[in-house]
Structure formats: C-alpha cells, structure tokens
C-alpha cells in the first residue's frame, strides 16, 4: 500500500487556504516561537506550529509561581508574557519565512479594536500562514476569556479580525462556558475559517505550608491528560454544530488520544502539555497516526475525521 495521505485543508473557504502536510500541530504557549525545540526535534515535520500568544504591546506576565503540577495535569498562570507583535514581526517572522512548516500566530486583544489592529499588522507578513484568535485565555484580567464567554463578544472579536486580514482565521474557544456549541456557531457565523478547542479550564491549588494559593496569580488554567475527556466531548459537540474544520486540543499525549479527537470530528490536533512530558510527543503522535492508517488501510485522513458521529 502506498503511504497514507495525512494532509488536511484547515481553511477550505479562505482564498489563501491553510494546507497542513499532516494534522499534528503545537498548542499555543507550549512551543514558544517555534525555534526553542528545534535542537530537539525536526520542527519542519510538524503539520503546523502555533506560536505563543501575542499582544499589541509586550507583556510581563504574572508573578511566580506560574506552574503547579496536579494529578495528570498542570495549572499555569503565565499571564500572556510575550514580546509584542512588533518584535514578533521583526525578529521571529523572518525565520519562519524560511521554513516549510506553516506558522500560525495566536493573538490576544484587550478590546475589539486591539484584535482588529493585530490582524491588520499581521496580514501581509511573510512567514505567517494564519491567525488563531485567542478569546479564551483565563490568565489575564482584560480581554481573553471575556470575549470567549458570550456569543456576541466572541462574534465581535472574530469579525474584527476577519475584517482586517485575508489570512485564514481560526478562533480558539474556551471550555469555561455553559454552551460551547452556541459560541462556536456564533464565531462561525462571524466568518471564522476554522475553530480550535479547548483552551485551559480554570482551576487552582493551595499550598499547605503557606495556606495560600500555590499560583502567584491565585487561579490558573488546567491542561494535560486530566482535561482530555472534557475536551473530547466538546470537540464532539461542536463538530455536530458547525461545518468548518476543527483543531482538537486538550490533554493529547499519544497517537490514540489524537485519533479519538479525529474520530470525534477534529481535522487536526494541537499538542501542548505532552511536549513538556515528552519533547518528542508531536512526532511520536504523527508516527502513531500514520501506523494506524496503514494498519487499518485508511488512505486519506478525511476518511476517519468525525467517524464517531
């Protein structure tokens, strides 16, 4: 049998399109700006790289401690520390321009205008293949999750980005909502080319010695294997509700995890926390998916996307 076709088109409705050679990508905030792991794995073999969330101005982030391990999970309260969009365009994009792997920039605004401005600034930048709109960060006081919590605000942020770029736009949804499918429908209506879900779930941990919250910012976002069943269910629900491609994310650590998300309706997966546990996780997952397809005589990934519906 000839080797299976793992490629996916994430933005079929967009004139520029977003074709990935395979469905395995890196979740924003867990893979830096792409080059940090270049010494450890061949990053060109990834389906796409989604870089650390970026804001208009550089941000310092939250006080230490920023990470706490829980059983099968990690709480983080990084607080969107980032170099700002100008430095990103000046210092990071030129490197990406020389890569074959598409790089998607995760953006966070504090207002609709900021989302619009970020989209405008990134629009013509060589090396940038798409925008992931973060309306789901639990670690900032303004913006982020505020936008992800109501269908109207989520649609507004999406609309602001879409109106200012021809780049494919993926909207990243928060699980900290009552009805994620409702938000999904609202952002698709507003023009999202694709969706990614989920961002982290709000959580906390308390340090016995100090009797204080273990994270410097009190609460944080939970990621890792502990959230996988929740993420999977949300992907399944959203896949029934919308027609656009979905990137599944949340606790994906192995090829079996990734395949579950694909069966649930995801066209691609994002691997986050698992890269900390196993820096080779993305490539191991890619190999595993390929092996599965060979074994089960699946010629094209599209044959199994949403198989569980």
């Amino acid at each position: 049998m000839k080797s299976p076709d793992l490629s996916v088109q994430l933005a079929p409705q967009n004139s520029r399109g977003l074709r990935l050679a395979n469905p395995v990508t890196t979740a924003s905030g867990t893979f830096g700006y792409g080059a940090e792991y270049a010494e450890v794995i061949d990053v060109q073999r990834l389906g796409a790289i989604i870089c650390k969330g970026i804001t208009l101005k550089p941000r310092h982030g939250n006080p230490q401690p920023r990470l706490v391990e829980t059983v099968g999970g990690v709480l983080n309260s990084i607080g969107m520390e980032n170099i700002g969009v100008d430095s990103l365009i000046r210092e990071k994009a030129p490197t990406w321009a020389g890569w074959s792997v598409p790089v998607i920039v995760n953006v966070l605004g504090q207002s609709t205008e900021e989302y619009a401005e970020l989209a405008r600034l990134l629009d013509g930048v060589t090396g940038v293949s798409g925008i992931e709109v973060n309306i789901s960060c639990p670690n900032v006081s303004a913006g982020g999750m505020e936008f992800g919590a109501s269908p109207e605000a989520a649609a507004e942020a999406t609309d602001a980005v879409k109106a200012n770029t021809t780049l494919p736009v993926i909207v990243k949804l928060s699980p900290n909502v009552t009805d994620i499918a409702e938000i999904a429908c609202a952002v698709v209506e507003a023009g999202a080319d694709a969706l990614s879900l989920i961002n982290t779930l709000k959580g906390m941990s308390i340090d016995l010695a100090s009797r204080r919250p273990a994270l410097g910012n009190t609460g944080g976002g939970l990621s890792g294997p502990a959230i996988k069943p929740i993420a999977l269910h949300m992907v399944y629900q959203v896949a029934q509700a919308v027609e656009v491609p979905i990137m599944g994310c949340g606790g994906i650590s192995t090829a079996s995890d990734a395949l579950e998300f694909i069966f649930a309706g995801a066209s691609a997966v994002q691997v986050g926390t698992a890269t900390f546990t196993n820096p080779r996780a993305t490539l191991d997952i890619l190999e595993g998916i390929k092996r599965f397809m060979e074994k089960e005589s699946v010629h094209q990934l599209s044959e199994i996307i949403g198989a569980a519906k």
């Binding site: 940090e36 401690p65 983080n76």
Partner: protein, 268 residues
C-alpha cells in the same frame, strides 16, 4: 540538549532521604557542564506531566551521569525506587551552568543541604583546572552531610551543622564573613532563604562575584513555556535557559519566591 533513553547503573540512599543515582547517558555526560541540569521524566505514562529538574552531580568518562536528590514529593519518591537496569528518560543537558572566570584562582563553594549536588561537579572541574577550592557544607545534622570519601581530593572542606553534631555549630552563612574575603569568586547552591541572607551581607562581602543556582518550578526546560520567568536587575530572565545560575547581585531578592512546598509539608 538531547532526549535520551538512559539506563540506571546504580541507585542507593546516601543518607536518609537522599539518593545518589548513576545512569548511563553518554550523550548527556559528554556535553554536561557543572551547574547544568537534566529534566528527568518521573512516573509511568502521563500522571506526572512535568519533568523534574536535577543538577548534574558528576559525570564519568565512560558516559555515566550522576544525580544526587532529596526525596521530597511524588517524583523524587518514584525516582528513589529505580533499580539498576531500569530505563530512565532524561532530557539535557540544559541551562547555562557555572562560569569560573579565567582570573579566579581561589574559589569558595557554599552548599546548603541538598545544594551540594551541583557543587561537587564544580569542585571537580575547578581542581582539574588548577584552582584551589574551599567547599562549605551545611545541613541540620551530621548524618546529612555529604560523605568525605566521595568528594574530589585536593579540596578543603568546612562543615557546619545546625545541631553541632559535626563541624561548626550553626549555619554556613554565619561563616561567610571569615571565608569570603580570601576567595576570588563564590558559588552557592541552597534554599532561597540562604541566598536572601547572603544578599543582606555587608556590601564588602556582597561585592565579591557570587553565582547562585536558583530553583523555580520548570515546565519545558528550553524557554518555550515561560513558566519560570523571574525579575532580575536587567529585566526578565528565564531560569530554565538563561539560568539556573545567576549572579547574586542580579536577582531582585525580595521578589523571589520559593517553589510551593506542596505535599512535602506533611512529611515533616
């Protein structure tokens, strides 16, 4: 940096609650410098998503690397149970390591508790390059002091115990006014409060070039997750990549916080 499938060569309790583990990992042994660390994967599967950072304690010419670690929680508990022949997933070497200035001839090394771990590698390197080394070791009691027979020969050791059961009674930091003046360069590894005490010493002592190894919870080890950012006098730094070794005078000590004690609080 490499992700290496290493094999445990030996693992035994050096004193109650502290283990010396040797692993075969030629790729790491060949590259590691004193003060660098490896991220050690602990547990089976993914129940412990974060690797544990452990300093390179020693390396051998035949490709082995040693870690010296205190059992304080889930990860180190698991690690203490590893036996000869067991596989061990290591990611390293990572971080900047200590920097002995070319002009430094007399070095003072200060170990608080398990902080001895990276300083043994440093002492070995210093002796090999012809520096004279004074190593101060401090802990609660005599049974927790790193055994003399395992230290490189040709160094001078000074011991302090809080209960006076070995060496001087008190804290190593109490001895610093006596020893710092004659050193060209100082290196320290210990708990945060030891560094904070050092940062409060008289300016004459503080002005001696002093490098310290900082502990913060690390996520990725390569500067990708920004979980370990701290404030320095030159702006923000990543402990995992720019550190873990910093100049004492560069750190904003009143903003520094120790990693949460977590479960270990109940074991005391």
């Amino acid at each position: 940096m490499k992700q290496v499938n290493a094999t445990v060569v030996s693992n035994h309790e050096l004193w109650p609650g502290a283990y010396l583990l040797w692993a075969q990992a030629p790729e790491i042994a060949a590259l590691a410098r004193p003060g660098q660390y490896a991220m050690v994967r602990c547990g089976e599967g993914h129940d412990m998503p974060l690797r544990r950072p452990l300093s390179v304690h020693r390396t051998s010419l035949d490709g082995n690397v040693a870690f010296l670690f205190a059992v304080v929680g889930r990860g180190t508990e698991w690690l203490a149970q590893r036996k000869k022949g067991d596989p061990l997933d290591l990611f390293g070497p990572l971080g900047n390591g200590f920097d002995i200035y070319p002009s430094s001839r007399k070095l003072l090394l200060i170990a608080g508790g398990i902080g001895i771990a990276p300083l043994v590698a440093l002492a070995e390197q210093a002796v090999a390059t012809g520096c004279s080394v004074t190593l101060m070791i401090g802990d609660r009691t005599a049974t927790r002091i790193y055994p003399d027979r395992l230290l490189p020969s040709g160094i001078k050791t000074v011991v302090a115990t809080e209960d006076g059961s070995l060496g001087m009674k008190g804290m190593v930091t109490d001895l610093l006014p006596k020893f710092i003046p004659e050193a060209d360069q100082v290196f320290a590894c210990g708990p945060l409060r030891m560094y904070q005490r050092m940062a409060q010493m008289s300016s004459e002592l503080r002005d001696k070039p002093t490098q310290v190894l900082l502990e913060v919870v690390l996520g990725c080890g390569v500067g990708a997750c920004l979980g370990c950012t701290i404030e320095t006098r030159h702006g923000q730094s990543l402990v995992c990549k720019d550190g873990p070794v910093f100049e004492l005078s560069d750190i904003v000590w009143d903003k520094a916080v120790a990693p949460p004690a977590g479960r270990r609080y109940l074991r005391k």
